[in-house]
């Protein structure tokens, strides 16, 4: 099972960073600058060929080049990034909706669980990327097959985490509902689902990363546009600096997506941090 404990806010012990919260930031910046400098000098002095390892400056130029075109320009990053983003977004939404719905039904009905479980196990054991060629046969070279891939990769982390969250509800909370003679679905909506939200979000945080991964993989396998397609084009003309620039863009969008999910997570499960805070205060 893929589980990831919900991210807890970094409440650092005071003894560790006496010099304030800026020290790690300063150290991190120095480290990155030094690394780029060593890389630049190594490439230009030792003479590594540019198609093996481009200079950081070359990557920077490729990045500026790629980002300066307009959305309608086939050579610009924006043209491809927009398609990859659409794929990621739709794939994530469809995949997480399916994942949460399946988890809900599986947790509510032993019959449904029994019927669906074998397929979940088989599909989970399968390297899901290997389904990509099939999706192209079924959905063609357009965005549909890419979305199908992104959604497929999203479903499992969301499904498994949600299922775990929905089946491990605190027994005290369930007893409150039992004493009220609540129906199965009343218990689900009032107690099980909200109780499972931290784990559901852990699944969604993984899901958004997997959705982008699915989009890129589908673009490698066969598509008309997207960052994966752009990367293959750059690779075919040995524009290694360009490939690096695409990687920089993908790392940035990945970071932004994760940050977005964390922000939503914090706002939806507002009680999570406060509850633990009050616990540490009283303890």
């Amino acid at each position: 099972m893929i589980t990831q404990s919900a991210p807890t806010p970094a409440r650092r012990p005071k003894t560790r960073f006496d010099d304030g919260p800026y020290l790690p930031l300063v150290l991190g910046t120095i480290s990155v600058v030094l690394c780029l400098l060593v890389w630049q000098l190594a490439v230009s002095w030792i003479g590594v060929p540019h198609y093996v390892l481009p200079e950081p400056l070359g990557v920077f130029h490729a990045l500026v080049d790629g980002l300066s075109g307009s959305v309608s320009d086939r050579g610009s990053f924006w043209y491809h990034l927009l398609d990859t983003f659409k794929t990621t977004a739709f794939g994530f939404l469809i995949g997480s909706a399916i994942g949460i719905a399946l988890a809900a039904l599986m947790s509510q009905s032993v019959y449904f669980h029994g019927i669906v479980f074998p397929y979940v196990v088989v599909l989970q054991s399968l390297p899901k990327i290997a389904i990509a060629p099939l999706f192209i046969i079924w959905f063609g070279y357009q965005i549909e097959s890419k979305i199908a891939m992104a959604a497929t990769l999203t479903v499992f982390p969301v499904l498994l985490n949600s299922l775990q969250g929905l089946t491990t509800t605190d027994s005290d909370r369930l007893e409150v509902m039992m004493a009220l003679k609540a129906t199965r679905w009343q218990t689900f909506w009032h107690v099980k689902l909200p109780s499972a939200l931290p784990l559901i979000f852990a699944g969604l945080n993984l899901g958004i990363v997997y959705a982008q991964l699915g989009a890129i993989v589908a673009e490698f396998v066969g598509a008309q546009k997207g960052m994966g397609v752009m990367m293959l084009q750059l690779q075919s003309v040995s524009d290694t600096a360009g490939v690096f620039a695409v990687l920089v863009v993908l790392a940035t969008t990945g970071y932004l997506l994760i940050t977005l999910m964390r922000t939503i997570h914090r706002h939806v499960i507002f009680w999570e941090n406060t509850a633990s805070k009050s616990k540490t205060q009283s303890g």
Partner: protein, 264 residues
Amino acid sequence: MNDMAEKPQLLKVVDLTKDYSTRSGVHVTALPGVSMTLEDGEFVSVVGPSGCGKTTLLKILAGIIQPTSGQVLYRGRHITGAQRGMGVVFQSPVLMPWLKIIDNVLLPAKVIGLDRTAARATAMELLELVGLGGFENKYPFELSGGMQQRASIVRSLVHDPAILLMDEPFGALDALTREHMNVELQRIWLSRRKTVFFITHSISEAVYLSDRVLVMSARPGRFIRDLRISFPRPRDYDCTATAEFGDYVKQIRQLLVRHEDHNS
């Protein structure tokens, strides 16, 4: 127990047993067959050592667990499962952290499907009664442990149950808060006149609050004494310092200690 004509029996428990089998296949008797009655409007406490089956008994009455054998009669009718005529207060407040206090205490009304405006008015009135007026829009984590437990008492009362089942509700509180909560509970009980079935470890808490104290022996738990407490109401907390109060406490403690000696 025989004055059936005088007071109506609200709840009658006949020969209730509960067996568990552990994972290793060992049979454990949690309840060996207990009988008791609750009369309308009575405050009855059960005291007994840990693991004597008090909580098991309460959970059977609440319909949370099923007995192995025996009967529970509610208003003369044989019942199985949860009854909406009962409210339960647990050892910990068990409030839902994502709901405001008002929505927490209205949860039973929502589940049962009571009229929203009427239930809200009742809830506000009860919150006022337990001293939580003005806290209805706070979240549980903004309240102290004692306040949370008071909110959970309001939740157990909001659907106007005939019987209140309380499972060591003040066990987790510090001694001073606990005394205060005992006084509060008596006040709430005097103003609402519910039948209360109250489980506790504390002998003095039981004596202070109850009309009757049922003393339970160690596992497997049986009722070894049904003691009527004849202090007038309302009881001042100072009555706990009187000789008469001390006699009750001593009597119950001796019963518990004697039974422990027999068992070991």
